[in-house]
Symmetry: C2
Subunit: 356 residues, 2 copies
C-alpha cells in the first residue's frame, strides 16, 4: 500500500504522553487495516526553544512540509511565558500555521454521552448539541502589522486587522461545503456593524451563498453569538468566522460541551494536507505523571484519517473503540466521577487499542 | 435642593415603554426623598434617523452635554439595519460615546434569586456569581482607521486597533478602584501572546498594580476567559478589558446569569457624568405591546443614583422595591414561569413605584 508520511510533534507538558498513545493507535491501524504509516519526529515549542533556540526549527518545518499530515501534542508552559516574543512557543504555533498555509481551523464541539454531566450547562440545554467551528487561521489581526510608536499623548500600540476577499472566500466556501455534509446550516459570525473587515466578510458570504441555495445561512454578530452559544447551543450546525473571533468562540463552544479533554481539531490548507491536535493544552500541572487523558489526541488521529487520508474504516474503528471503552466505564482522572477508580494515560491507550 | 438635570433618550422599540416606567420612579424619588430632577427628552437612534436624518442630532448631543446624567432606553431595529453607515443607529451609539468621552462601560452581572432557574447554567455553578465587567469604550478597533483598498490580490479591508498608554491607564485605575470596594479581585483580560495592544495593556496593568497591593490581580487570555466564565463564573469579581473583548465577554457574562432582562449598565467618563441604560436591546418583536420588562431600566436609575449622584438612600429604596415586587411573585412575560399570569410593563412599573 501507499505509505503515508506523518510528522509527529510531541511538544511540551503532557504532549509526549498523549502522543505516545496516539502512535500505538497508528501501529494498530497498520495491523488491522493494512495501511502503512511512516512517522518522523520533530522538535517544536518550548522544547525546541530549549534545545534549538527557536520554537520552530527549520528542520521541523521541512519535516512537516514533506509529510502528508502532522500530528501535534501540545505546546507551551509557564517556563517560556515571559520570554521575548521570538522565544515563545505560540510564536512557533503562528509560524507553522503561516508557513504550512493552514488557513482553516476546524473544531467539532460534541457532547460525549458519558460526559453529559461534566458540562456546567443544564443537560436539557445541551441535548443534541453537535456543532463545528470553522475558524480562519492565517489572517486578521493575528498577522497584520503590529508596532509601538511615541505620540504627544505618550506611547501607543497598534495592531492591524486585514482581510482580502480571497482569504474570506476560501474559508467561507469550505464552511459551506462542510455544512452541506451535515445539517445544512451555516452561521457566519462577524461584527459588521462596526468593522470594515466584517463588512467585507459579510458581503463575501452573501455572494458565495448564491452557490449554496441548499444551505440555510444566518449572520450573527459576535457578541450575540457569545450569548446564543449559551442559550441555544444545539441550534448551531456550522459556525464560520475570522481568526480572533474564532479563537474566542471555539474555546467557548468547547467548554460548554464539558468534554474539552475529548475534543480534537484539524488545521487545513489547500489540498488534503492537515495538522491535527487535541483542543486541550499542554497542562503543565499534570505533565509527567502519566494521568493525562489521551482520548482527544487519539480522536485527532481519527480526524486525520477522515479528512486527510479518507480512511473512514479505520477512523470508524477508533471512534467506536473510544466509545466502547467509555461505555465500559473506564475513565482517566479528568473525566472520572470517582477519582479513586481513575486509570492512567497508557492504560487508557491500551484499552482503546485493544477495542479497535 | 440642588436640581439634577437628566437627559432622557427613549430611543426605539421597547425603549419608550421602559423609559416611561423609569420616569415614574424618578418622580416618586422626588416625593419620597426631596431630590429634584429636571428631565429633558431628545431624539436618538432609529427615530432620529427617521425624523432628523441622522442617528445623533446635534441638539440631542447638546442636551446630553448640559445634563448631569443620561438615561437611555434602547436603540436600533431591523428597519435601519441595511442603511448606509451614517444612517445606522449604532453609528449614533459610537458617536455619543466618543462625543461624551464615555471611556468606560460598567456591567454588573448578578443572579436574581427569582431567576435562578432562568440561566442555562446549572444553579450550583452559578451560586454566588456577582461580577462586574469594566469595558474600555472609546478606543481599540472600534475607533481606529478603517478602509478598503485594491491590491494585486483583490480588494482588501483594514481595521486598526490602537491604544495609547493613558487610555489604558484610566480604565485600569477605575477597575482597580471598583475592585477595592468589592471582593478585591481583578481579572485583566487581553491577548498578550498575540497582540501588541495587549502587551501594552498588560504592562500598564502591571505598573498600576503596584498602587493597589490590596487587590489580587490575575491576567487571563481572552479565549481562556470565555471558557472560565462558563466554568467558574463565581470566582470572578471585577473583569477589565479592552473594547472588542469587552463587547463579547460582557454579553457572555450577562447571558450566563439568565437575568438579561434585569441587568443595567453605566457608561462613565471623567468626573461623575454617566450614561445609564439597560443591557437588553430594543426588542422590536415585542415593541408597542406593553409587555416589555421595565426592571433593567428602573435599576439603571438606581445605578445612576449611586454612581453619578451619590443618592444611595434612593438607590437602595429602588433596589429593595424591585426585590419585594419579585419576591411577591409578580413577573413580566419574559421572566414568568406561568406566562398566563404575566403582568404588563406599566403594571410592573406601578408595583415597583408603590413598593418604594
Ligand atoms: C496560543 C495562541 C497563539 C493560539 C491562538 O490564539 O491561536 C491558541 O489560543 C489557539 O487557539 O490555538
Ligand atoms: C451596537 C454595537 C455597536 C454595540 C457595541 O458593539 O459596542 C453594542 O453591541 C454594545 O455592546 O453596546
Amino acid at each position: 500500500a501507499d505509505v503515508k508520511k506523518i510528522a509527529v510533534i510531541a511538544g511540551d507538558g503532557i504532549g509526549p504522553e498523549v502522543i505516545a498513545e496516539a502512535e500505538k493507535v497508528l501501529k494498530r491501524t497498520e495491523e488491522l487495516f493494512g495501511y502503512k504509516f511512516e512517522t518522523e519526529h520533530g522538535l517544536f515549542g518550548g522544547i525546541a526553544i530549549d534545545q534549538r533556540g527557536t520554537p520552530l526549527p527549520q528542520e521541523t518545518l521541512e519535516m512537516c512540509k514533506k509529510a502528508d499530515a502532522v500530528l501535534l501534542g501540545a505546546v507551551g508552559g509557564p517556563k517560556w511565558d515571559n520570554n521575548p516574543k521570538e522565544l515563545r512557543p505560540e510564536t512557533g504555533l503562528l509560524g507553522i500555521r503561516k508557513a504550512l498555509g493552514l488557513f482553516s481551523n476546524i473544531r467539532p464541539a460534541v457532547i460525549f454521552d458519558c460526559l453529559k454531566d461534566a458540562s456546567t450547562l443544564k443537560p436539557e440545554v445541551l441535548e443534541g448539541t453537535d456543532l463545528i467551528v470553522v475558524r480562519e487561521l492565517t489572517g486578521g489581526i493575528y498577522f497584520g502589522d503590529k508596532f509601538r510608536r511615541d505620540t504627544p499623548n505618550g506611547q501607543e500600540a497598534v495592531d492591524t486587522c486585514v482581510y482580502n476577499v480571497s482569504e474570506v472566500e476560501r474559508i467561507v466556501r469550505q464552511a459551506f461545503d462542510i455544512a452541506r455534509t451535515r445539517r445544512k446550516k451555516l452561521a457566519s459570525v462577524d461584527k459588521a456593524n462596526v468593522l470594515e473587515t466584517s463588512r467585507l466578510w459579510r458581503e463575501t458570504v452573501n455572494r458565495i451563498a448564491a452557490d449554496y441555495p441548499d444551505v440555510e445561512l444566518e449572520h450573527v454578530l459576535v457578541d450575540n453569538c457569545a450569548m446564543q452559544l449559551l442559550r441555544r447551543p444545539s441550534s448551531f450546525d456550522v459556525i464560520v468566522t475570522e481568526n480572533m473571533f474564532g479563537d474566542i468562540l471555539s474555546d467557548e463552544a468547547a467548554m460548554l460541551t464539558g468534554s474539552i479533554g475529548m475534543l480534537s481539531s484539524a488545521s487545513l490548507g489547500e489540498g488534503s494536507f492537515g495538522l491535527y491536535e487535541p483542543v486541550h493544552g499542554s497542562a503543565p500541572d499534570i505533565a509527567g505523571q502519566g494521568i493525562a487523558n489521551p482520548i482527544a489526541t487519539i480522536l485527532s488521529v481519527a480526524l486525520m484519517f477522515r479528512l486527510t487520508f479518507g480512511y473512514h474504516d479505520a477512523a470508524g474503528s477508533i471512534e467506536r473503540a473510544v466509545k466502547n471503552v467509555l461505555d465500559a466505564g473506564h475513565r482517566t482522572g479528568d473525566i472520572a466521577v470517582d477519582k479513586s477508580k481513575a486509570i492512567g494515560t497508557t492504560a487508557m491507550g491500551d484499552l482503546i487499542v485493544a477495542a479497535m
